[in-house]
Subunit: 149 residues, 10 copies
Amino acid sequence: MEPFVSKSEAAEIVKVARVRAGTSWAEIAEAIDRPAPWTVAALLGQHPVPQAEAAQVGQMLGLDAAVVEALQAQPTRAGLEESLSDPTIYRFSEALAVYGPAIKELIHEEFGDGIMSAINFKVDVARREDPDGDRVVVTFDGKFLDYRW
Amino acid sequence: MEPFVSKSEAAEIVKVARVRAGTSWAEIAEAIDRPAPWTVAALLGQHPVPQAEAAQVGQMLGLDAAVVEALQAQPTRAGLEESLSDPTIYRFSEALAVYGPAIKELIHEEFGDGIMSAINFKVDVARREDPDGDRVVVTFDGKFLDYRW
Amino acid sequence: MEPFVSKSEAAEIVKVARVRAGTSWAEIAEAIDRPAPWTVAALLGQHPVPQAEAAQVGQMLGLDAAVVEALQAQPTRAGLEESLSDPTIYRFSEALAVYGPAIKELIHEEFGDGIMSAINFKVDVARREDPDGDRVVVTFDGKFLDYRW
Amino acid sequence: MEPFVSKSEAAEIVKVARVRAGTSWAEIAEAIDRPAPWTVAALLGQHPVPQAEAAQVGQMLGLDAAVVEALQAQPTRAGLEESLSDPTIYRFSEALAVYGPAIKELIHEEFGDGIMSAINFKVDVARREDPDGDRVVVTFDGKFLDYRW
Amino acid sequence: MEPFVSKSEAAEIVKVARVRAGTSWAEIAEAIDRPAPWTVAALLGQHPVPQAEAAQVGQMLGLDAAVVEALQAQPTRAGLEESLSDPTIYRFSEALAVYGPAIKELIHEEFGDGIMSAINFKVDVARREDPDGDRVVVTFDGKFLDYRW
Amino acid sequence: MEPFVSKSEAAEIVKVARVRAGTSWAEIAEAIDRPAPWTVAALLGQHPVPQAEAAQVGQMLGLDAAVVEALQAQPTRAGLEESLSDPTIYRFSEALAVYGPAIKELIHEEFGDGIMSAINFKVDVARREDPDGDRVVVTFDGKFLDYRW
Amino acid sequence: MEPFVSKSEAAEIVKVARVRAGTSWAEIAEAIDRPAPWTVAALLGQHPVPQAEAAQVGQMLGLDAAVVEALQAQPTRAGLEESLSDPTIYRFSEALAVYGPAIKELIHEEFGDGIMSAINFKVDVARREDPDGDRVVVTFDGKFLDYRW
Amino acid sequence: MEPFVSKSEAAEIVKVARVRAGTSWAEIAEAIDRPAPWTVAALLGQHPVPQAEAAQVGQMLGLDAAVVEALQAQPTRAGLEESLSDPTIYRFSEALAVYGPAIKELIHEEFGDGIMSAINFKVDVARREDPDGDRVVVTFDGKFLDYRW
Amino acid sequence: MEPFVSKSEAAEIVKVARVRAGTSWAEIAEAIDRPAPWTVAALLGQHPVPQAEAAQVGQMLGLDAAVVEALQAQPTRAGLEESLSDPTIYRFSEALAVYGPAIKELIHEEFGDGIMSAINFKVDVARREDPDGDRVVVTFDGKFLDYRW
Amino acid sequence: MEPFVSKSEAAEIVKVARVRAGTSWAEIAEAIDRPAPWTVAALLGQHPVPQAEAAQVGQMLGLDAAVVEALQAQPTRAGLEESLSDPTIYRFSEALAVYGPAIKELIHEEFGDGIMSAINFKVDVARREDPDGDRVVVTFDGKFLDYRW
């Protein structure tokens, strides 16, 4: 059988190839006409990339066919736990530990018993200028789902 | 010595007292003139509540003096891990597992090497109406801090 | 403040009171006109019980007012991990370990990339007679949610 | 000695080869005349595949002899824990955390002290059409075993 | 409501009461006409004790009614993990770590793909005299269950 | 230096070579005149195999010299934890969780304070015919060691 | 026997009594003529407090005799792991994760193979004014111990 | 695609190359005009090394281009947990376990509610001569950040 | 039933009572004519104390009858894991991590395949004077047991 | 760059090479004039081996230059946790679990508050003849370090 690469190997290859090509994530996202967070997450192995978009990224970054094939595969979205201790990612976990129960109370007060979907969901990362130092603004936006039997 | 209550006991008492008093979190937040997420997090033990605000909440909810005292104490913001498996809170962890590395890439692309502060930080919980079902919109907003020696 | 009981204490009290009253779960479910799995899960602390139903169960089982109050409270559906090693529950975990990836493949093949909702969801427990020994048939039935940005 | 492949390597190879061959799991299951969930679980390494069926799958997917040999080997059905955080699989764990104790109570009420076998057991994955969105229906069907000395 | 005791509290009470009464486990087992391992396991909270046997043990050991009631309750057979580091129990875990895979191979060679049931199961503890020092002989005896769809 | 193989690699090689040779564990045990459980455990890396026996097994299964050398090495009997979730092995852990404390009580009642040795120890796996289904009978047989200063 | 309190209970009591008395840690440290970090650590249960100092603190804060007794007891310096997720403490763990291996390399380069003692050790916490925002300066100062047989 | 090396592989390569070249960490730090702790941490993979400095180190140590490239990559500062049990590093964890809560109290007393930044942060490792044995002095120096909504 | 105390409660009571009585462990050991390490371990709940010795200690320390009863009970020697992080105990774990595999090699070289018994075992704690600082000398002394089928 | 081997790879190579050379640990220790426990620990990667001794061992065992280089490298003494479940090593952990708190009490009684150093430390493994079976005698011998600010 022809050799193949796993989705996590493909993610590592994409990260190096992007730097070597001198291409930004934003340029890749624009080229395939998708939001940047979706694009990066998908290229890092968290979403299947449709064939046309995978091929286009492959061309931009000079990826082997086996890498392009891996990008299209259905992911098992498992286990990035080791990266959760990276300080840039950890701060979100810390905020969740501090504010999670408060967020839960306010969701229930506003919507009743239920959850914010993480499937019918999008995320945005933005910069907001501020004289005291610019701010990172990350928005989690998911459909409310009520507990329904 | 007079009896005292811990901050986690105080949080449990506040939750029951609020339901018995028929008061919403929004009403408490308005009464003490603070944002709702801050108010709920603080009353659940994640922030020290200033004396005046603690006294006012105590009066609204009929809390004992030892509970009001506990609300003012400096918290050890430790360990809510058991509540992270609650589905309403878990979805945020799942979104972070799926999108955390992508968020990290985009922060670095936009700001350089650094983090979103979880201390100089605020969070907002809102409802956005949508014909396909209203949406929970949670915004994490923290100052960017660059790695600086 | 009047004393209060937690939802997990209420669950322990309900279990003992039900046996002392000689009442089956099925009879309680029928009395409040709800499916049995929902009823048992809710009385064990996994769902808020509406006021009327909580009061009716309180009367059937002779529960104190504070227990009836606890049944109505919004749960934090956290942490039953210690009960997962009970053999009757463990077999479901084992089946999930053996068949989980296969179930995932078949969901993707039939529906595309997405999940079975555990919120818009119901479960059924039934007996199916079989000459080789009757069978436990447990059905998980949840709305399909596709990954949608 | 001739080279050999492990069952987990064989599972990865089968997944890629199936996509390359453009064959569905349902077609493979039909070809070897086995239920689809059994077929997928077995090809992913959770059951030994009989020689004839392994050979037939090998031919359909163009597998090497060492892969066909691995499919027939007796598995150690150990440790898929990392895949349990995949959202599609996790929802079943979450449902089990919420409803497991209730399922246990109802099994005991209907059958007495005992368990649903996970060995004399079958699972089914089906789509049920629903105007509010089609549903994933997964049925766990195992022989009841009573605690018997 | 009358006070109640949990099954684990009942187990602790039984252990002390047995020593105070100067009664051996063997005498209790004989009095209720059950095998000793079943009797001890049940009184330590791992099986429901039928009403007559529970009452008889209650009388032998002078147990309160709430303890006798607890002995009859359906157990959640969860979590004795902390006692697994006791040296007397640990040696069985060690033997299983050393010989478990070999036992598995021999079960498959003799019976095919399947398991020894731990439900349709009994255990025996015996002394075998030996000039080099008497031996503890523990027999696990469970029905073979073959993997059957 | 000549290449070498680890004991765990040797175990994997032995398992495949045995199937390819069409030889049963019982035949190997008979050939080297050792009990089957000892033989299998040793070949799976849990005991050092004496030189003559290792050579004989190497000849029966066509093993390389480095594999035969590895079989003779002193093992570190560490860590098979991942295989403990295999259902065939797990049932023994489950039985130990349910009956371990009872076994401990009965050992102490019969022998006093001490343990069953897991070193001066043997294990047997047998089939016992039974009209209700044949049974797996596993006997743990170790010298009693009393706590002695 | 007279009632007694554990060292961790004493720590909780001291924390509340100090706030009620309106006394700073610095004032307590000055009163007993010890460095502030030692004083706080000792009163939080990490060091035995000599009798005279314990008595003096007891008088300052109005502590019961059993609390004063507990302050003098030899601690088991075990387990503050749950407080390590507090953001104020966590930042030190994070700095250690990022710089620990570098610190190790530099200790070995400067001193050779060995460690900084955590027993013959002192710590200092200070404020350093800075126009860009004042800084927390924490100094770990321990005797070098070389690996010596 | 050209081969690439990960940051952790690069770290291992740097450590060996430095010893082979007979160069001290201090010399490398001086050559690139950076503090030694920053230099070592960065070369061990905890910071991105700017292009000029990476090239210079590559020349000093005779590193391949792919290693020099890896040194420049943005790190995921994840997971050095296994090295935390090294005695030289562990002593810092132990000191943090013993003094962490005291440090936290003193920071709050001096600065109010907030943290020492681990991002706007520097660390120093020094030797202090002492007649009773020289001492390792490690200084953590980070900007104070107050909890600010 | 009369109240009873657990062995771990008894251990806490003994520790406080010993300090209050101004009695050393050595004096207690001498009074009951047992080695000090055995005496302390037994009074801390790790061995059953014979009736006469338990009574004598009870009289020396003024213990209640329920405590004396608890000292005699058969222990479950489980779980002191939280105390393993105490620095005085941890150093033994660290030494074991560093030297354990070497000790194992030397036992096998001297004795063959087997273990040092931890049951037929004694331990000694002594001071050895040394001009460079007195030394703690702890001797583990157990019977060799060879792996014997 | 020339290839290199890690210290753990070097340890595996040394173990095999020693058996192939038919050399005992005692002979190696004698050849380099070091105590046997230090020698074995160092060759297994827990200490840096000085150049002359490393070269001598390399000659005795026929090791490659890269292995001899690895023996000299400064170790990260991390993580042998998987080998702690080996029965020969585990018995020391068990003895520590049973006697650790007693050893701690006796150290404090004899020396005051402090620890046995694991750095200024040596260990000895010896055989003591005994008519009831020879004994393994392992001595831990470390300098006492008192808690000193």
